[in-house]
Each structure stands twice: as C-alpha cells, then as structure tokens.
C-alpha cells in the first residue's frame, strides 16, 4: 500500500471538514466579566515573586557549594596554604 498517497488522501478529506466556528451563547459577556473580575496586574507583586524565586535559587546554590567545600577529599595529605604557595618553587623540573 502506498502510505504517502494514503496520507495525502486522508489530509485532503480531513481538510474538507473544517472545525465549527460556533461560539457559545454570551461567551463574550463571560470573557468580559472574567477580565473585569481579575485583579489588575501589580508590578511590585510580580517583581517580588521574581526576586523571591531568585533568592531561593541563590540559597540552594550556596548550600550546595558549602556542602561541596566541607566534603572530605580523597587526598591523603591536606593542602596547606604554605605548601600551595611554595608548590611552584619546589618543582624539580623548573630549574632556570
């Protein structure tokens, strides 16, 4: 069976039955009532919500970073400030 032809034929037939554009009775009245009943958009409220969301994300990130920083590493020798600073100077291959 030629599936391409079948598909095109199906679409062609389906196009000949467009969906109804009938609008329910007094629909526009309902829409207008809902628009009038809706509270006006408060810019401060929207900003407040966005900032709270941002704050929550920042708190989550800082908690994750704190956990990661105190997590014990597998290094046998703890890296001290002194060893980190002198690490480059003690490289054996770095002789001038």
């Amino acid at each position: 069976m030629d599936l391409n032809r079948l598909q095109q034929n199906l679409f062609a037939q389906a196009r000949s039955v467009p969906p109804s554009d009938q609008v329910p009775y007094a629909f526009e009245k309902r829409v207008m009532a809902s628009l009038r009943a809706a509270p006006p958009a408060d810019a401060w409220l929207l900003w407040g919500r966005a900032l709270w969301r941002g704050a929550a994300a920042c708190v989550a990130l800082s908690v994750l970073l704190s956990v990661w920083s105190v997590w014990p590493t597998n290094d046998s020798e703890p890296v001290t400030l002194e060893s980190a600073v002198f690490a480059a100077a003690e490289e054996p291959g770095e002789a001038w």
Binding site: M1, L3, N4, L6, Q7, N9, L10, F11, A12, Q13, A14, R15, S16, V17, P18, P19, S20, D21, Q22, V23, P24, F27, E28, R30, V31, M32, S34, L35, R36, A38, A41
Partner: protein, 193 residues
Amino acid sequence: MGQPESDAELIAAVLKGSTGCFEPLVQKYSPRLFATARRYARRESEVEDIVQEIWQKAYAHLGSFRGDAPFEHWLMRLAVHVCYDFLRKHQRNRETSFTELTEPESDWLDRHVAGSEGDPENAAAAKQLVDRLLAQLSPPARLVITLLELEERSIKEISQLTGWSITLVKVRAFRARAEMRKLLGRIAKDKYL
C-alpha cells in the same frame, strides 16, 4: 467623537482604560479562535477554557501589540502558543495506542484501497481517523501537521506563528509526517495482513 470602530481604535481605547472597548474585539474574533481551538481539544469545556485563556492573555499583553501587523495575526500567534501549551500540558493524557478502527474508518480505508478517492460522504470518517492519529503524536508533531496539512499554511507562516526557525519547522514537519506514516503503516498492516 464617536465610538471607536476599527481594531486600532478599539485597542487604543482599551489601552487608555476603556475595558468595554475590548468586547467588540472578542465578538469579532472569537469564531476564528473557537475553530482553531477545536483542532487541538476535543471536549467543548476544554475548547472554551483555551479561548478564554487566549482572550485573557490578549488583554494582559495588549500593550505589546505594536500595530505594524493586523491585530488578527498577533492574536493568532497568541492562540497557537496557548494551544501548544495546552497540548504540552495534556501530553500525558494523549492516547498511547490505537484502538480498533471504527466501521466508517474501516470503510474509508477499503474505499481508498479500491481506488475510489475524494468521496465527500466519507470525509467525516477520514477526519475522525486523522484526529485519532494526531492524538497519538507528540505536541510539536501535532501542531506542525495541523498547521501545515490541515490549515495549509506555508513553512514561513508556521515559523512566524510558532516562533520556531524555518529549519526547525522543516525538520519537525519531516519527522511528524514520518511518525504519522508509521502509524498508518501499522494500521494497514493490522487490517490487511
């Protein structure tokens, strides 16, 4: 000064605070929106919810309408976005398997196989079959097939309506047609083999 009549005048009046001037726009464009929403939702209560949401969004974002294109185009873009959101929200509820063909659908296939195409009496059966097939597609596939094949819109128009790039529309259309052919192949196999 008389009552505003054109879309631009009505919109300007609404933006100045005259909410009542929005009603003629609702009256004028609701039939078009209902026809669009009925392509994506089956239940009439869902269709009404979709159209109501489109009007609420249109009212809330009316200030972003620049007026360089007809209001209808702007509204249809909004409608397509709301319908697409509806499809994505109801993605889990979409049919995952094709139940048996109904008698009219089966008759339509038989007629197609026999070569008697274009029978207007059976168009409803074909439409029903297409609707059931579309219900199994992913939201992007369903949207692109509806716009491209049922509403006969061009790739460029679909790109403008959806906000997808032309390449993305082409890729999605190709995949959607293939997805649908696969489903049709399965149906034909079950029926004739």
